[in-house]
Symmetry: D3
Subunit: 240 residues, 6 copies
């Protein structure tokens, strides 16, 4: 029995709210249960040096946590003077995931930065950030489309969403919350496209190593969960 | 005429919502119109080195802005590797303001850190942070009172709230929003107690120097505004 | 009775010595009693990026303290790897104060940096720095005038000087030294022009909040003190 | 055809040389073809704060690259003043991988730090570092066993090794070198134990998303490669 | 002919003024012509960790330059966020030089930090700092002696002073000023005791390599100059 | 008797191996006994700002130590976030030494960076780095000569090599190893050209000051040692 009483293959309640910031070109407040991440997409008419005069654009992401997003207050990274290894690892993952569904030529020589800031954490912040970050990105492209800058469906090659799975008390379960995550034997994050292609897999044995069979069960759960997330994304974007 | 059509002595719509974070001992989402600041109070059973074994506690504050809280995206301070002078100046002000109404002996040897993170900015973030920070601090003391750790009314010597005033197109006005703030000739921040005592005054001539008369008009406006904010605080805390 | 035996409205002995550095375009060693600040103005034929091709110049200030300027040795900021919040707050104040009396168009596209380094501290270092910084700035403009670069009286719209006041043992007093500053109930810094306009006001209740009446008494004291400082500036510059 | 002419399921020539440093308690120079990583294990009689008085030890890893380990010289991280996100990500992976096969209670309250410094890079530095890092760690435990501090086979629960696989020109291949890695459509790193348990999986679509089938082919290749690496480890340690 | 018209073996005018700071336990403003360095010795009742409970003390030095001590304004190191390699090299040299004449056992478990801040630079700042730093250190020991903490002559094993020499237009000259230093072919700094022992030698060929003969001529000049500096030190300390 | 049983004027076994890195334009692994330094020269078609459009090139050096190059593991500088004063001092010395034998006009507007990374330390790392760095630099110039970019003998004005000497148990000895270095009374580093010109001298009294006679004995030893090193360099470069 999961602490949240959810069935093994059930997501937490998912909410994807757009239009939550008056300044950002695209915005989405994503909630996976008690995990809340504010995703804001900012458009800039410049690209990193390695893309100048290439005709291609860039999508990047940054990740942060408010100091008291977690059970114990953590030191503010701006005050510590550097981003932790964990933070950098997560923001690199979000950026790669979003770039996987973007046609940089169709975007043109512009950069979209997706800031994912965790307002409240209860496990799964990186998967929520990718799922909500996609919506913020798509909103930004809608904003650009309205102004005749791009055609959204040319830039976006498909949906991308992410979910975690794990082996909790010997049972494979979908969408770990913090109570599960902190004691799971195995923890894996999956990033997939709307068409079911795999973009990124990260699996880690926290306790004993896991087997190929166990891993495939987690992959099945992820596929189901991501299907539901993609539907929620489409609905939030008014594409359903 | 003010851009927002408000009368010269009118605050923006003020909202002080408590209980907005599941982890923090005290929390308040404060809105001064389109300026939104999340204030989270964290209790820790330790004090800074200079207070060890003194029997006294400490209250401190940290301030941050999400990179896209503003019209143009700003660089993330955690990524830049340091907090700007402006950030440090503001968080020092918030801390001093809150400490002005706390009896550190009655608090006991504990530290309360109030994190004020600007989710969306439209002028007046520091005054909103002080006003909402007070509510988060009071909520934290209620949490402690429930557990028999302190008596709230012994720790808190009164309310503290803050508001900005300025001279906009030659007229003294209350509670500047960004459209006014960016062109005001004079900009002043006032921090006062519920009893009308002055805790902090900061007045700056952005253009021509100002006169004593002008300054006193700003102070009058501030007194009116802070009276209304203190009422809103009491209501949010269930003390009204 | 003040520790220094001074009357409540008396400044410490003020000295403003020019020509104290062989390299700087303008220089002034300012002494407010035992507080000694070396102010050096450096002219550079460049402006910050936001002013390029604007035809306008810029004046900025930096502030530092020798590690043993104070009673206890403080850590060297260059070794600590960052400037404290206090340092940044002060240098921002000095810069704003000096800019308040400069016509940036008349200066032309050049930057003057005024370095204010505290050689010895005994309270009031920021007000001494503004007062001496003005003299160093004016000396720099004289140097430029000699070379036909500017007309000093076109660039400088007036004098600017600063003084602190406070409530010490229930009495409003002028120009706090360290013995007073460290125990004063209220501490305020005033920056004014030679014509009596207010450029900046910063008042802080260190203990109990203060009243409007008390504040106005401090302002009166400041007005008197700044009048004397402006006279001393004129004399030091040979304008008296 | 692979640039190196290797069959799809062939490792590069592997070399694991021990005893390569006179100071370190355990050392191994690992070569995967032209990728050379020096792994040095250092024993310290202290543990991180969170383990004090727990009776348990800790194993951690650090990773670095000489500036000219790569085709173009990279900036020295010590001079840049921080470790890149990539560096931190890799050293966290190495640490997790090594800890997966260590019984921290049997190690006792001591820390072993495994420094993995890339002397020359040609793709696969992180997998070489894990594979060689295990040997350095085991050598360190032999050193400790000689001195009666631990029993090696109690501390080490098994071997751990790592290899990369990828889809290069539509064909799944084992142990990518730089020429392959820089153009592969999919790149995955696998960390497994000697018994075939999976410790960590990281798969990334560099171009188009990949399918479950493709992923399973990579996993098969990895299993074969890691089997050979474990044999080489046993031989290097004199356990074969 | 030297730019300053000095004979080849002549020092610039030397001034060593004590009692120049009201807070420091020992102080000396040293002038080698237009090079002015403020040396302040601070006594602290603590030692670095490696000396705790050793019964021995420590002497260390820090070095800094005001940004406009030089002809062109340099960036403030506190603002740059780090000390330059040159600064660190110089402060390490000053510290070693002063320690060479101190009996750490006789000092007892205390640390004396000598801050050497260059107020104005015209070549030879490090040699002036060592020479003046010795005086500040001796003043500090006098202060301690007055309070019965140490016996100065037991702590100080002798004088230490320093001077630069160089080959300027093919002629060996003593005590280079900036005009000479910036064009000299060879530049050497010598640190010696009052008894003529060599503490430190640093010689650098700026242009062509130099010969042993040339070097010995520089050493002779240095010996003469340091003799005069030691006399000046004794006079400044009232020991002459 | 020296710990290594060497005669007073004997170098440790010297080895200079070229061609040790597949990427660098010039490379040399230098061994002075158990001190091993990897020297890699990287050519870049750019120069520092102060040389742009000057027609002249630049040679610079960086120095680092693997954390466990030494008997006790040291903190990784990249992780500490800055290079130590010692590191900066050494890399500045290596750079100056190499530049002393390079004709920057003949090199043309290009920069060669020589990275000297200590793989294993046993005293004398800086002198080994200079000696091996010269070989890496010469190898780089050979590489350039092959491509018709420069004429090596026009760029290199001669050899440069370095050695340490010291007074160990009252006897002057050549090429200190760690056992000697850590207890020597006097420690000196000499950098000389193949023609016997002195490029740099650094002598430090670790205990009692030393005399001119002692210093000249060290210089004689250094001259002998450097002669042997220059021969070894020529042989390694195939010039013998």
């Amino acid at each position: 029995m999961r602490p949240s009483k959810r069935p093994a293959d059930a997501l937490r309640e998912v909410s994807l709210e757009t239009g939550v910031n008056r300044h950002a070109e695209g915005s989405c407040l994503v909630k996976f249960g008690e995990t809340h991440v504010l995703c804001l997409a900012s458009l800039e008419e410049r690209v990193p040096p390695f893309l100048r005069n290439s005709g291609k654009g860039w999508v990047t992401a940054e990740y942060g946590m408010l100091p008291r997003a977690t059970g114990d207050r953590m030191r503010r990274e701006a005050s510590a003077g550097k981003q932790s290894g964990r933070t950098q690892e997560i923001q690199r993952l979000i950026g790669r995931s979003l770039r996987a569904v973007v046609d940089m030529g169709a975007l043109g020589e512009r950069q979209i930065t997706v800031d994912c800031d965790v307002i409240q954490a209860d496990g799964g912040t990186r998967t929520a950030a990718i799922t909500g970050g996609y919506v913020a990105l798509a909103e930004c492209l809608k904003w650009m489309e309205t102004r005749g800058m791009v055609t959204r469906k040319n830039v976006l090659k498909g949906h991308v969403a992410a979910i975690s799975c794990g082996i909790y008390k010997n049972e494979p379960v979908l969408d770990l919350d913090y109570a599960e995550d902190s004691t799971a034997e195995t923890d894996a994050n999956f990033v997939m496209t709307g068409a079911g292609g795999i973009v990124e897999i990260q699996g880690t044995a926290e306790g004993a190593p896991f087997s190929q069979d166990e891993f495939l069960k987690l992959l099945d759960l992820a596929r189901k969960g991501i299907g539901e997330l993609v539907e929620a994304q489409a609905k939030a974007l008014g594409d359903a």
